[in-house]
């Protein structure tokens, strides 16, 4: 079959503002949208810029807006989306070229929440013990691939780019509820600040957008509860 795509293009070396360009490429219905984009890039228009690597939804490279929703291009099949498939870069981050956005502001917020295990005690000669139940408490948030789909679909983030955003909250959650970590209080202080967790208005766009099906709103709810009751 033929697939029609409508892609938002922007090349800072040539364009003052973005413009739309249409392409038609052959594809199987079960092909990924990424396959269609690479077909364009390989055979029709080598100037199209996008990021990709794993091609099966685990590296977080190819998040973009597909028919107005944040999706991974490699995890969205052509047959499941209406044509012409409208493709745009993620919203709320500066565009470098075409579908490539500058992720640095996103990763800067990621680093703010201390995304690493803090524990300066001498570790045991073998592993730290952790029960299956303790491990399960933060399982969901370990799945995050930092694709930025959630944060860039969040209206609170669109109106206030200082907001830490759902992805950083997910990362904070992953450590706050890990029995081995010792910096929960410190992280909760960070999240309690002005641009932290209280900016979340429970709009659920992030849950919709997350390709790893992380229940982000639930994780944020647990953080809010931990702040209110001072228990984690």
């Amino acid at each position: 079959m033929d697939v029609k795509l409508r892609i938002k293009r922007f090349d800072p070396e040539r364009d003052d503002k973005p413009h739309w360009q249409e392409y038609t490429v052959p594809a199987e219905p079960t092909d990924r949208v990424l396959d269609a984009l690479l077909q364009i890039k390989g055979y029709q228009d080598g100037t199209l810029a996008l990021r990709r690597s794993c091609a099966h939804g685990v590296c977080g490279s190819c998040a973009m807006r597909i028919n107005h929703l944040n999706r991974l291009a490699c995890k969205t099949l052509v047959k499941d989306v209406k044509q012409p498939i409208v493709i745009e870069p993620l919203k709320g981050l500066p565009v470098i070229k075409d579908l490539v956005v500058d992720m640095e502001p996103f990763f800067e917020k990621f680093r703010i929440v201390k995304p690493f295990l803090v524990n300066d005690e001498t570790p045991p000669p073998t592993e730290w013990r952790q029960s299956i139940e303790e491990r399960a408490r933060f399982d969901d948030t370990t799945k995050c691939i930092l694709c930025a789909s959630c944060t860039t679909s969040c209206p609170s983030f669109w109106t206030n780019s200082e907001y830490l955003g759902p992805a950083s909250l997910v990362q904070a959650h992953r450590f706050i509820f890990d029995t081995r970590d010792r910096a929960a209080a410190e992280r909760l202080d960070i999240l309690n600040a002005r641009e932290g967790v209280w900016r979340c208005r429970t709009i659920f766009n992030c849950v919709e957008a997350c390709p790893r099906e992380i229940n982000i709103t639930k994780a944020i709810g647990q953080i809010k509860k931990a702040l209110v009751y001072n228990r984690f």
Binding site: A49, H56, I96, P115, S131
Partner: protein
Amino acid sequence: MYHNYDAVVIGGGGAGLMSAIQLSPKGSTAVLSKLHPMRSHTGAAQGGIGAALGNLEEDLWEWHMFDTVKGGDYLVDQDAAEIMAQDAIEAVYDLEHWGLPFDRTADGKIAQRPFGGHTRDYGKGIVRRACYAADRTGHMILQTLYQRAIRNRVDFFDEFQVVDICIEGGACHGVVAYEIATGELHTFRAKAVIVATGGFGRMFRVTSNAYSFTGDGQAMVYRKGLPLEDMEFFQFHPTGIRKMGILITEAVRGEGGILVNGQGERFMERYSPNLLDLAPRDVVSRAIHKEVLAGRGIDGKEYVHLDASHLGRDVVATKLPDIQDFCRTYLGIDPAVDPIPVEPTAHYAMGGIPTDVDGQVLADETNRPVPGFYAAGECACVSVHGANRLGSNSLLELMVFGRRAGRHMAEHIVQTDFLELKTGPEERMREELDRLLAGTGSENAAGLRKELREVMMNKVGVLREQKTLDEAVEAVRELKDRYRNVGLQDKGRTFNMELLVALELGYLLDLAEVTALSAAARHESRGAHTREDYPDRDDENWLKHTLAFRTDGGVTLKYKPVNVSFFEPKPRTY
């Protein structure tokens, strides 16, 4: 632009990050990665990391070492295998102490599962040795290492693609990198450099490897006149999703899944009566090929079924959630109910840049090290995988040898000074890139790549013979000729991936030639290298490593001995 660092790490995957974590407390350390480190392919690893912790049943590192040597069909350097099996235990505990969220046993220890070829008591039966975090172990390792590196304040240069390594006077002095966002060239002067750029499965049509797996490090090293070792040994993983190649981890069989042919038979009973579906990968991939050739594929076609439907919804949902997700997304099926259509998928390069057990790159068949120059991970060949890697041993190799290399580099940088670089090492690269950019030739890079992948899949695949291997060498050389005539549309400097993809195609072509030629020369069957015209292993003539050098006349092959200091080569049955 110029930068000075004590150490430069090329690659932000498991091996690169591990070495950077060792280095950063000892000297200024820069990690240069063409992908943001979190996008590295280590994150795609699913099933587990091997270590004889013995958390669920008795296990010894000596058994692990033996399995590794036998699994590699005795082409493994046994001193390296000894170090790996022994250091594995500490490496896994380190990861746990840094926060890796392993699954847990009922008593709160790291959970372990069976993996192909891992046995108790020197082959008596399957042992649970692979430590895991659901079916995203690699993702968790990559996250944990990246987190640790951030904590250690490593300097990251994300989306910097290294395009040249500066080797002068027999030592390494730095690298040249291309900043993808701006098209600017940067020179990094360093006392020590480590290559940790991953594999090159992208030269095959069906592969589990990411688009970025184009063998950059191996090719750059080869172009410096340094050798590549055992390149004919490329692993085909038996269970890739049909046609797409997306990996279905061995853990599915570790949890009890079985392979079934078109007649509903559990055919591994015929090929490996002892280990069955958990035989090493070369054995299982060959078995699938033979079933297909005998017309016993599903509906007589080129694939078989991997059946996990008897494991129960709970096991599938909790232990194999990503596999379930892949099957739903790409096949529209649920592995808890339906069998998964699978075929062998090009997966892992056993060969690569020769190193010693401290990661030092070796320049020749006498094992002469290149001062200040290191390699680790899939791009390197120590060689712990020999002719066939066992599952869960790659993640392990990244940890053990990434760490050893990092430590050796840390010593090296305090003992040496910066070496003078000839002026303008970027000049040569600027010229090469400008030439590629200016290209108005009629050849299309995507088309050439497609042809290359067909040739390698069809002629240098699971089953090989002289005629098709020779044809492959010829075909690749023709493609190389045509490559000189590649034309690009994108002439810009901002995120010009067309340029970089063309550069990477050049790497793949070089490595494909070496792979096919090394395979054509090896007249025996060993591990993943199966010759229909030479069906047996031939220790008398071929118990040796291949070294391929680039010379004016093309490729020159030399050989060097294997370290067999512990286990004497024996016939390999499972």
